[in-house]
């Protein structure tokens, strides 16, 4: 709608109108903020609430809204912000070359990171965290991006993976390398169990039901005290070994066997490469799966379910495999999470996590592997950037979700490459790709 009326820049600066609109915005801002920002409630000495005024903060917020609205009116008027159109065409052509170079460059950087930052524990931890989310994003991408099923409870499978490893290790003393596939199998098993009844639902409903499942699993983990220790979580989850060699100081440890000086960093670097490999496996599997009949069926399903059914594709099985496949990678990531943290509790598997992974997939551009990786790095990097304003960072995160949806609803990487093509691969504009269709 707005794109039709977009190319009509205002003939002149309409100062008065801009002022009027800005005043209106300020008035609305005053209404919104008057009670919630202007007045602060405190718990008084006798337990009852007391209030104190914050007129200065209120004035600042309303003033900012006024200035912001005024500037926006002056610069933009009725036009819609179009980032791409502002760049010169030569630069745009260059930018379109970027993704081709970006993937190998990012991979090279990811491989080199532990060498570059060997003594920087903080960077290594951040790298591990980003890669965990990249892996989760790629796993969810199979479900949301390829099969077009909106899953708001993805974190449930992550939780299943983490708890599978922690409980199997605690009760049966199984090692990480045995539990890793088991966690994946159990998570995909859960994916099938949960997916089976719900997959005939339409998009929005499916989203809500998966969210409900995510919450149910979290609440069960929270309340089944005898098994999961409830809110206390499971501590002392065993650390991974280097194919049987523990990262310990002893004679049979990793450092001693290879004749190295013992260092705590060995384990961190090992964990880093472990999650890198796991993430790359996820990526490779999803890229290869797209070419297989099942992957093509997923994409066909995303485009048109009725057409699929009339062509004889078993939609239930196709959806279930996508669900189970996505869940399996979440299970792998979950058991990695458990072994890295050494401690898990239901706190780590809230709806916010699901929303975050989904946000990574959507902001990156659904179905785009590169976009997901970029989005995960940008988002978690941004989170670290806002670390000092910890209480504001979720606020900024939510706001970013809204703004990116408004400016780039198709995500950062807004073109898709088709899986099947004749002679040469052409880019497909994301507008033409359907996502999580429901009507």
């Amino acid at each position: 709608m707005s794109s039709l009326s977009a190319p009509s820049p205002k003939p002149r600066l309409d100062l008065l109108a801009a002022l009027k609109r800005a005043l209106l915005s300020a008035l609305i801002a005053f209404g919104l903020f008057s009670l919630l920002i202007g007045i602060r409630t405190h718990t008084g000495s006798n337990g009852a609430l007391v209030i104190s005024g914050r007129p200065d903060l209120l004035a600042i917020m309303v003033g900012l809204t006024f200035v912001g609205a005024f500037v926006r009116e002056l610069i933009l008027g009725e036009r819609v912000l179009e980032m791409g159109a502002m760049l010169p065409p030569a630069l745009r052509a260059r930018l379109q070359m970027l993704p081709k170079l970006a993937a190998p460059a990012m991979l090279a950087f990811a491989i080199a990171l532990p060498i570059l930052f060997y003594h920087n524990r903080y960077m290594l931890d951040l790298g591990i965290m980003i890669l965990t989310y990249v892996m989760l994003g790629w796993g969810l991408n199979i479900v949301v991006g390829l099969a077009g099923l909106l899953d708001l409870g993805y974190v449930a499978f992550y939780a299943v993976g983490a708890y599978s490893y922690a409980l199997l290790a605690e009760n049966f003393g199984l090692s990480f390398w045995i539990c890793l596939p088991l966690a994946g199998i159990l998570a995909s098993f859960w994916g099938i169990i949960l997916g089976f009844p719900v997959l005939r639902l339409r998009g929005d409903y499916l989203a809500i039901v998966t969210m409900a499942f995510g919450e149910i699993i979290r609440l069960i983990l929270l309340n089944w005290q005898s098994l999961t220790h409830g809110p206390d979580g499971i501590s002392g989850v065993p650390r991974p070994s280097f194919f049987g060699l523990p990262f310990s100081r002893g004679d049979d440890g990793f450092a001693h066997t290879f004749g190295l000086q013992y260092s705590y960093t060995h384990r961190i670097v090992f964990l880093y490469y472990l999650i890198l490999v796991l993430a790359l496996v996820t990526n490779l599997v999803s890229i290869r799966l797209r070419r297989l009949p099942i992957g093509r069926a997923w994409e066909a399903l995303r485009e048109d379910e009725i057409a699929c059914r009339s062509l004889g594709i078993n939609t239930t099985n196709t959806k279930l495999t996508a669900f189970a496949m996505g869940a399996m990678f979440a299970g792998f990531a979950g058991s990695f999470f458990a072994t890295r943290q050494g401690f898990i509790s239901p706190e780590s598997f809230t709806f916010t996590e699901s929303a975050m992974v989904l946000a990574i997939v959507v902001l990156g551009g659904m179905g785009s592997q590169l976009g997901v990786a970029v989005a995960a790095a940008a988002m978690l990097g941004g989170f670290e950037f806002f670390r000092e304003f910890a209480q504001f960072r979720m606020l900024v995160f939510g706001l970013a979700m809204v703004l990116i949806m408004i400016w780039r609803p198709r995500g950062l990487v807004a073109t898709r490459t088709p899986s099947v093509f004749l002679r040469n691969r052409k880019k497909v504009d994301a507008e033409l790709v359907k996502e999580a269709r429901s009507t």
Binding site: L32, L36, A48, I51, G203, E215, L395, M401, S438
Partner: protein, 304 residues
């Protein structure tokens, strides 16, 4: 029997609150076809505005409970409606013609924003309010167990019924209601026939938010404590109620709210209180699987 009666009273009260929130979901879904994920948080914002408005009124010397309550109701409804309007204008309207997932994701973002906004500006602690309306009636007494019908519960149910009557009249008899029903049937056709679609949708959000604000006040009066996180669970349950009653159907939302309230209360009373949320979520799943159109909803036909 008397235990059952007491739980019935509690369940109906809770159901009235859920029903009021559910109307917001069902109206927006009916007209725009999106799940307004932030609606639960609008309810929470309404409760906070009511709390602060009440404290302000006390601070300036208005302590007569009926007058204070009436003023709080007006202020909370007006300001929460403004929040509803702003959320729609800022986060949903630019996405009206975008792909289908975009508004849902924007709504999730908005929900995170509202939750954390309230947490930042008002603190993460729970906010208690001493009971304003005390007293009630003892309906039955057997041994030590008494069946109580408190005045708060009467107020909650009566207000809900009154609002429902006003609201049904609004939808059935006024120009705005007719526009809303037209938009619900066919957005494009309605706009061709001269219905201002944008304005109608804005009003839908405003009304939904105002009703959610009333639910927020009820929650505040009934439980006496609120925090910034009440919106999520209440929102999901109210959405469950809307789905259970048949999304898009207004009497359905009320009926669904009542059922969810009763189920939750009886579940906590007779089974386990820890799993009451699990019960509510499970009902959502079961309803969607076996009764995807809800109790009073119309089946949707998918056309090629």
């Amino acid at each position: 029997m008397d235990y059952f009666l007491q739980q019935l009273i509690n369940g109906v009260t809770l159901g009235a609150i859920y029903g009021l929130i559910a109307i917001g979901y069902t109206m927006v879904y009916g007209i725009v076809g999106m799940i307004n994920f932030a609606h639960g948080d609008i309810f929470m914002v309404g409760a906070f505005i009511a709390l602060i408005a009440f404290l302000c009124l006390v601070a300036i010397g208005i302590t007569a409970v009926p007058l204070a309550l009436f003023l709080v109701l007006l202020i909370a409804m007006a300001l929460t409606a403004l929040y509803g309007w702003t959320v729609e204008r800022f986060a949903y309207r630019p996405l009206r013609h975008s792909f289908r997932l975009a508004p849902l994701i924007s709504a999730i973002g908005m929900s995170i924003v509202l939750e954390n906004y309230v947490q930042v500006v008002q603190g993460a602690r729970v906010k208690p309010l001493p009971p304003l309306i005390t007293g009630g009636y003892t309906l039955m007494q057997r041994g030590t167990f008494t069946v109580q019908l408190s005045n708060v519960q009467i107020l909650v149910v009566v207000t809900t019924v009154v609002l429902m009557v006003i609201f049904s009249w609004l939808v059935a008899r006024t120009r705005l209601g007719r526009d809303m029903r037209a938009c619900e049937q066919d957005l494009k056709m309605a706009s061709l026939l001269g219905v201002d679609v944008n304005r109608t949708i804005s009003y839908t959000f405003v009304i939904g938010a105002a009703l959610a604000a009333v639910a927020g006040i009820m929650h505040l009066l009934y439980y006496g404590v609120i925090d910034f996180y009440i919106g999520f669970v209440a929102g999901v349950k109210a959405f469950t109620a809307a789905v259970l009653g048949g999304i898009g159907s207004l009497p359905g939302a009320m009926l669904g709210g009542l059922l969810i309230g009763l189920i939750e209360t009886f579940w906590s009373a007779y089974f386990s209180i820890e799993y009451k949320d699990v019960a509510a979520f499970s009902i959502l799943v079961i309803v969607l699987i076996f009764l995807p159109t809800g109790i009073l909803g119309r089946p949707e036909v998918e056309k090629v």
